[in-house]
């Protein structure tokens, strides 16, 4: 049954919509609020003497670093604009700097590189050389933060995108698949085979959970928000995917036809997406978000995948999500029986 639904998927516009929506939304949001289309400055280094500068660039982050073997290869990379700037660090560079020799340092700059990238890389390299020298800077720079403290909007949008991935793929797909089976009478055809309603519903749930899981991971990947611990991320995303698919089953079992399905989806939108609004507006009272059942599915994902917490930090939310999931399972069982009775008594 699941194989059939997956095989039919690419023939369904809704299936394609579920797959493309998170990608398109990520692109739109990152374009508007993030840095998806603003790549990091690219620096290539040939380091003959194991300079501390190379390690410092790696530690600093925000720079795409490539370590090459020879100066000729580096020059080719710069000429081809594969990197913005190339730097050759001769053997004994660090020692020469520390002894005050002022060794010459050649920077190869790609003519096609952005001026901003050149400036960032030049300043960063000078700053790091000064660190190696160990001298005192001529001025003391005082940093004063302007604007609110907190995560950038591009990060706070991640729960919105993951929620879309979860509920379009996890809830809408199984719901519409169930409604299609009812509307076209194929559910009745299935029920006069050895297949049981419980198996049909389980297959739809598996479809939703699988698609929601994959699309959520893809969304997190696209937003560079996969946290530090892969197994933990997979666990919380799987929990959210199952939660979403159970909601989808309930909606699909309740809806008699496509029009009713869309009405339910639209009217339940605020219930589904309510909690993620609070991530966008951290000044709002956050306890309100906890009233929404979907909060308990999305919050572990937020904390583990985006903030880098571990499962030990979110177990309370996960227990509540599992508890709510069991309630949803009970509702699904009840609605399945009702659907069976309705099909049997339908003219």
């Amino acid at each position: 049954m699941l194989r059939k639904d997956l095989a039919l998927g690419p023939r369904s516009p809704l299936f394609l919509y579920a797959i493309t929506l998170p990608v398109v939304l990520t692109a739109v949001f990152q374009l508007a609020f993030g840095s998806l289309f603003e790549p990091e400055p690219r620096l290539a280094i040939v380091d003959d003497g194991g300079s501390a500068l190379t390690a410092a660039v790696q530690d600093r982050g925000g720079i795409e670093l490539t370590v090459l073997d020879g100066a000729a290869e580096l020059r080719r990379a710069v000429e081809a604009n594969d990197v913005d700037v190339g730097l050759v660090l001769p053997a004994g560079f660090d020692e020469a700097v520390r002894s005050g020799e002022q060794p010459p340092l050649e920077l190869y700059v790609s003519g096609e590189s952005y001026a901003s990238n050149r400036a960032i890389l030049s300043v960063t390299i000078l700053d790091l050389v000064r660190e190696i020298e160990g001298g005192t800077p001529p001025v003391a720079v005082q940093l004063r933060q302007s604007g609110e403290a907190g995560l950038p909007l591009a990060i706070r949008l991640v729960p919105v995108l993951v929620m879309y991935a979860l509920f379009v793929a996890g809830a809408f797909l199984p719901a519409s698949s169930l409604v299609d089976e009812k509307v076209h009478g194929t559910l009745t055809a299935l029920l006069v085979t050895p297949a049981r309603m419980s198996e049909i519903v389980t297959a739809k749930a598996a479809l939703g959970a699988l698609m929601a899981f994959v699309m959520s991971i893809v969304t997190l990947l696209l937003n560079d928000s996969l946290g530090g611990n892969w197994p933990d991320v997979l666990a919380v995303v799987l929990l959210g995917a199952v939660f979403a698919s159970l909601l989808g089953l309930i909606i699909g079992l309740l809806a008699k036809d496509g029009a009713m399905l869309f009405t339910i989806m639209k009217s339940s939108g605020i219930l589904l997406f309510g909690p993620v609004i609070f991530y966008l507006f951290p000044d709002w009272p956050q306890w309100i978000a906890r009233i929404f059942p979907t909060y308990w599915a999305i919050d572990p994902i937020w904390r583990v995948a985006v903030l880098g917490d571990g499962l030990g930090d979110v177990w309370g939310s996960m227990v509540i999500a599992v508890g709510l999931g069991l309630v949803l399972v009970a509702v699904v069982v009840r609605l399945s029986r009702r659907t069976l009775a309705q099909l049997g008594t339908a003219a």
Partner: protein, 295 residues
């Protein structure tokens, strides 16, 4: 009854005793009883709302009976035993196929639900004349082709009992005849067939016995021949030229005076046509229930 082949059933394939079903206060099926033997085709006739669909839903395990009992292939239909569905084939009046799947994909998917690993989908499609459209999506099929797909789907698990609801509805005469031949072939190999139809010609031609269902009750159950003998009138209608007009006469066949008159008419130059007036199943149904089959 047709020859029975390839079956191990010794008792009836379908055995119904005092079967009842109520929708709230409405008693849709009122304690009906009948048997269908392996290899037998039972025509189930009645107007809409007579209880045909409800009976079939109970026999196929979709509805639990309110009373009485029924066994299909020895399996109590009120138990949720998948063995029942594994051995029956159902052709619905509604064309409930997967339109975005090809004909072959439809059959292979349904075969997989029966645990059939290597189904002969091409062979089944060949039987209903769709072999050359096996790879085409069902949504491109005409109404008649979809109906043939419905039949082929009912055959995919080589069932021992077939429930066919209006199997030739909407088909052209040639295709309908081909489908009837296929149904007859199934019966010939020992499959019990419960055939629901509004088409009296089809019921008469295919059925070993017919059951008239009205308001949830079986009002008559016998072979078409016996029903006609019992409820029909044996008469002859003749049309004669009379001056510038035409006159009709109807004569009973069992009457001595009629025989003399008909003998004289045979040589009359005014005789235009002469037809026996056999009762049709529809006439018999109307006579028994006071209502037509189509309603």
């Amino acid at each position: 009854m047709r020859a029975t082949k390839g079956t191990t059933m010794t008792g009836p394939a379908i055995s119904v005793s005092g079967l009842r079903f109520t929708y709230g206060a409405l008693e849709a099926v009122k304690g009906i009883s009948f048997d269908v033997a392996p290899g037998e085709i039972l025509g189930f006739l009645g107007p809409n709302g007579a209880g045909k669909s409800t009976t079939i839903k109970m026999l196929t395990g979709q509805l639990r009976p309110s009373g009485g009992g029924a066994r299909v292939l020895g399996i109590d239909v009120s138990t949720d035993d998948p063995e029942l569905q594994a051995r029956i084939g159902v052709c619905f009046e509604e064309k409930n196929l997967y339109l975005n799947m090809s004909a072959k994909e439809n059959l292979e998917f349904f075969a997989s639900l029966y645990g059939i690993k290597d189904p002969d989908a091409d062979g089944v499609l060949r039987r209903v004349g769709l072999a050359d459209r096996a790879s085409d999506r069902v949504k491109t099929f005409s109404k008649g082709m979809r109906q043939r797909m419905m039949i082929s789907r009912a055959f995919i698990n080589s069932p021992d009992v077939l429930f066919l609801d209006e199997p030739t509805d909407g088909l052209d005469p040639a295709t309908a005849a081909a489908i009837r031949t296929t149904i007859q072939e199934e019966a010939d190999r020992g499959v019990a067939v419960l055939l629901t139809t509004h088409d009296m010609f089809e019921a008469d031609q295919l059925s070993d016995r017919v059951a008239f269902l009205n308001a949830g009750e079986i009002v008559a159950l016998d072979t078409p021949e016996n029903l006609k003998l019992r409820y029909g009138s044996r008469s002859v209608k003749v049309r004669l030229r009379e001056g510038d007009g035409i006159r009709e006469e109807t004569w009973p066949l069992d009457d001595a005076a009629a025989a003399t008159r008909l003998g004289a008419l045979m040589t009359s130059p005014d005789l235009l046509t002469m037809h026996t007036e056999e009762a049709t199943l529809e006439h018999i149904f109307i006579r028994l229930t006071g209502r037509g089959l189509a309603g």
